[in-house]
């Protein structure tokens, strides 16, 4: 998902009986459904994994502003412009909440930014794909937010208190995002002109597999998720969520009159689920390792915003310091 390639630092899950007393008490708290709070004792690996996962999640929110931000100035009506702007603004807010939650683990937001800028920390592969037409605003809202919600709803129950609480707030705010996107798709794919229908299908074709990739590699190739699941910082397996996403999305596509770009897609009466083709995992690895269509541009845009803003952040800080000193001198 937003944290697709979080590598657990543990070496698989240790059975309770082999744990030391502190680790064992910790695991038992999680098993009982208790929340872990910042000042509680926690294993180093738990802390490190969480910082990485929350960092990736927060980075995904703010890098995720860019592909949609690409269309704010070209939104076709005042209403669409306001909706899209509000949505992209929410993403900044969600990044902010998660960064703040991560800060309770002893890392600063600036440090997290630095790790993003240096390439040390990743963000979701999905945001390395370009948004080429207005229909992409529909496809992103419908598919990308749809996939994200699927992951974020269970994360409200994650074991780390500040993260869980941030997710509660985020899920509440995010409920309109997917609908906003789907609404754009209805307008274009169902009720639109021939040009608009073509744009809608084209956007769907380009975003279908990248959306499937958002859930991360197949469980059988994802050796690290067991520990994360034991710690309840990951709530479902990648394949479970991917299947759920396909099952929910296919009927929505049918309603729109769009064709899923997968000739093997078929409802399986025995399983009660859709069978579908795996995305191209080589492409996924390319994108993750920096060779997606937009990796360089996205990171450049983030770095530029950060560097261009340095004088503002410094200026405002200097003013605050001066103000405090003047106040002190006056007393």
């Amino acid at each position: 998902m937003y944290a697709q390639m979080v590598k657990s630092t543990g070496k698989g899950v240790q059975p309770l009986e082999e744990m030391g007393p502190q680790d064992r008490a910790f695991q038992e708290r999680i098993d009982r459904g208790e929340k872990i709070e910042p000042k509680d004792w926690m294993p180093d690996a738990y802390r490190k994994n969480l910082i990485r996962q929350m960092g990736q999640h927060a980075h995904s929110e703010i890098v995720g502003q860019l592909p949609e931000g690409n269309w704010i100035t070209r939104a076709p009506t005042l209403e669409r412009k306001a909706n899209l702007l509000a949505k992209v603004q929410d993403e900044a807010g969600h990044g902010l909440y998660i960064y703040c939650a991560a800060e309770t683990l002893g890392i600063s937001r600036d440090e997290l930014f630095e790790q993003l800028h240096s390439g040390k920390m990743k963000y979701s592969s999905i945001f390395n794909y370009p948004t080429l037409t207005w229909a992409d605003m529909g496809a992103v809202g419908w598919l990308v937010d749809g996939a994200a919600i699927m992951n974020q709803v269970p994360l409200q129950r994650t074991s780390f208190g500040p993260y869980a609480r941030a997710m509660v707030r985020i899920c509440k705010e995010e409920s309109f995002h997917q609908r906003q996107g789907y609404h754009i798709m209805i307008q274009m794919a169902k009720e639109g002109t021939a040009d608009q229908k073509r744009m809608a299908q084209d956007a769907f074709n380009r975003f279908w597999y990248p959306a499937l990739m958002m859930f991360g590699p197949s469980d059988k190739d994802s050796v690290h998720s067991a520990q994360s699941m034991a710690w309840k910082i990951k709530m479902n397996t990648n394949d479970e969520l991917r299947q759920k996403f396909v099952d929910e999305t296919v009927p929505q596509a049918e309603y729109l009159g769009l064709t899923v770009p997968d000739e093997h897609l078929k409802f399986n009466d025995e399983t009660g689920h859709y069978d579908f083709s795996e995305p191209d995992w080589d492409e996924f690895m390319d994108v993750i390792s920096g060779n997606g269509p937009c990796n360089t541009d996205r990171l450049e845009a983030r770095k530029k915003a950060w560097n261009d803003g340095a004088w503002v952040r410094e200026g405002m800080m200097a003013h605050a310091d001066k103000k405090a000193q003047r106040k002190l001198a006056a007393e």
Partner: protein
């Protein structure tokens, strides 16, 4: 990469128009208290009128250690609103 002094972290507490007390809603960064309050209006209240905002620099908050479980905590276990970082808000923060 430019390295500069980071804006401090602030904890934000909001009391809605008809609310009885301030509740923690989250955190943010700001250069000073006034800036923090403005940022809180933009980030956490969507500028609803009639809300009262407190901003406290995070480093100035003293907190008990949550793992010291015992008499201090047990009686209040089900009163989650007492949790220092509890911050579930209704959609419109102003209608608290």
């Amino acid at each position: 990469m430019t390295k500069s002094k980071e804006w401090p972290l602030w904890e934000i507490f909001i009391r809605g128009q008809h609310g009885m007390s301030h509740r923690h809603v989250g955190s943010l960064h700001a250069s000073d208290a006034e800036h923090a309050i403005k940022n809180a209006r933009d980030v956490y209240t969507r500028r609803n009128e009639g809300v009262s905002i407190w901003a406290v620099e995070a480093k100035d908050i003293s907190a008990s250690s949550p793992s010291d479980k015992g008499p201090l905590y047990d009686p209040a276990r089900d009163k989650i609103y007492r949790h220092p970082t509890f911050y579930v808000l209704p959609e419109e923060a102003g209608n608290m």
